[in-house]
Amino acid sequence: MINNHPKFELIQAFVNGDLPASLSAGIAIHADMCVECQKTIAQFTEQVAENSFEEEFLDRFIVDDNDALESIAAIDFDHMINAIVDSSDIDVVVPTIEKNISFNDETYIIPTALNSMELGKHAHIGKLTRTRIQLNENEIHTSLLHIQPGGGVPEHTHKGFELTVLLAGSFHDESGEYVKGDFIMLDGSHQHNPVSTNGCLCYTVASAPLHFTKGINKLLNPIGSFIY
């Protein structure tokens, strides 16, 4: 059962469209597998929409904003309407064609939220395989991370945040077992050593390289940049 969900603040920012594409997709992927969050998102969207299009809500910030009022008056709405209805095009929904990705002879379906994203080549270290998702979000790096059975990531902390959404399989760390659909958001205060007994595929978003903390593992800090 899915036990880890996005915080409500994250869901709010998601609905408002304020999160970067990487985190937005992470929440969409989770919600696709989580009826509970689907419901929360639907309700909150409805509420935000209602507030956005309510006259009174608007009146509240129309006050003191004469400039904006003037510029609204300056726009030729009639012209815009005519230009729009002049077109007889309608948008066809092309049925989404499933995209697959293979790691070590296993094929996985790519979540719909990632359908239009560009994927990089596989890179390997030990039992880990990483494919970068090319979102161009500067210090935020997004990847698909595959861990072969018995593989794991040595104990580390996160300098920024690290989001993991489990797409398939399972892994565990000091806090417990994670399953498909789990949405795990960690920050610098967390230290963990995730291990996947049977292998797994994760969607990961990290804002800074991992930092390995324990003895000899400190030598692994270059791997931190690999996973980041």
């Binding site: 469209g17 997709a25 969207t45 309510e54 726009i75 815009m80 209805v85 077109s87 309608i90 064609i97």
Partner: protein
């Protein structure tokens, strides 16, 4: 007569709905745009939504031209995608909000120099807003199979079948859209289905 039906469904939907917005009226306008490309109904929708969208966009984009572009793109998506709105899945305001948020999101990504990749409709589907898709999973293969069979139909029949089943337009909508008499739409659909049955039957039996 239809208005009563609509208001019953819509008002029963949720506690978040206020009386300040005439939801049944908005649904009806969207419906008229979807079914009969009703320009008058679109003008009403535009007058209701455009000033509000503009104000919200002004909050997100410092540049006036960009804010105007949000209005233009959102409203022209409403015009082109109205048939994708499903009043049983939520309010018209929620749907238009989704369209607006998606336009804004893609534009911000473009402006911030991330990429011009239009990811929003994959993240927030406009067609079936946040519906549970899990039951559709098994059918994807069958769909692909079906699609390839449809592709082999004569073009005229393909248009009708795709419009009816994939875009979920009504026969009346299709007649308007394809500029054909309703009878022609019906007979093409019948012909096409006959062929599909023969072809798929071979594989399914």
């Amino acid at each position: 007569m239809q208005t009563n039906l609509l208001s019953k469904e819509t008002s029963a939907k949720s506690t978040h709905m206020s009386d300040k917005i005439n939801h049944p009226q908005l649904c009806q306008w969207l419906d008229s745009v979807a079914h009969s490309r009703d320009k008058q109904a679109f003008t009403h929708l535009f007058q209701f939504f455009a000033p509000k969208i503009l104000r919200i966009a002004r909050g997100k984009f410092p540049n006036e031209a960009q804010a105007n572009e949000v209005v233009q793109d959102t409203m022209s998506n409403v015009w082109r995608k109205a048939h994708l709105f499903n009043k049983d899945k939520g309010a018209a305001t929620t749907w238009v909000y989704t369209v607006m948020r998606n336009v804004t999101f893609d534009m911000l990504r473009k402006i911030q120099g991330n990429k011009e990749d239009n990811l929003s409709d994959d993240i927030w589907p406009v067609a079936e807003s946040m519906s549970c898709e899990t039951e559709g999973f098994d059918d994807h293969l069958a769909d692909k199979n079906l699609l390839s069979v449809i592709e082999n139909l004569p073009q005229a029949q393909q248009d009708v079948v795709k419009g009816f089943y994939l875009r979920e337009m009504s026969q009346e909508q299709l007649a308007v859209h394809l500029n054909l008499p309703l009878g022609t739409v019906k007979s093409r659909l019948r012909l096409a289905l006959g062929k599909l049955k023969v072809q798929l039957g071979e594989k399914h039996d």
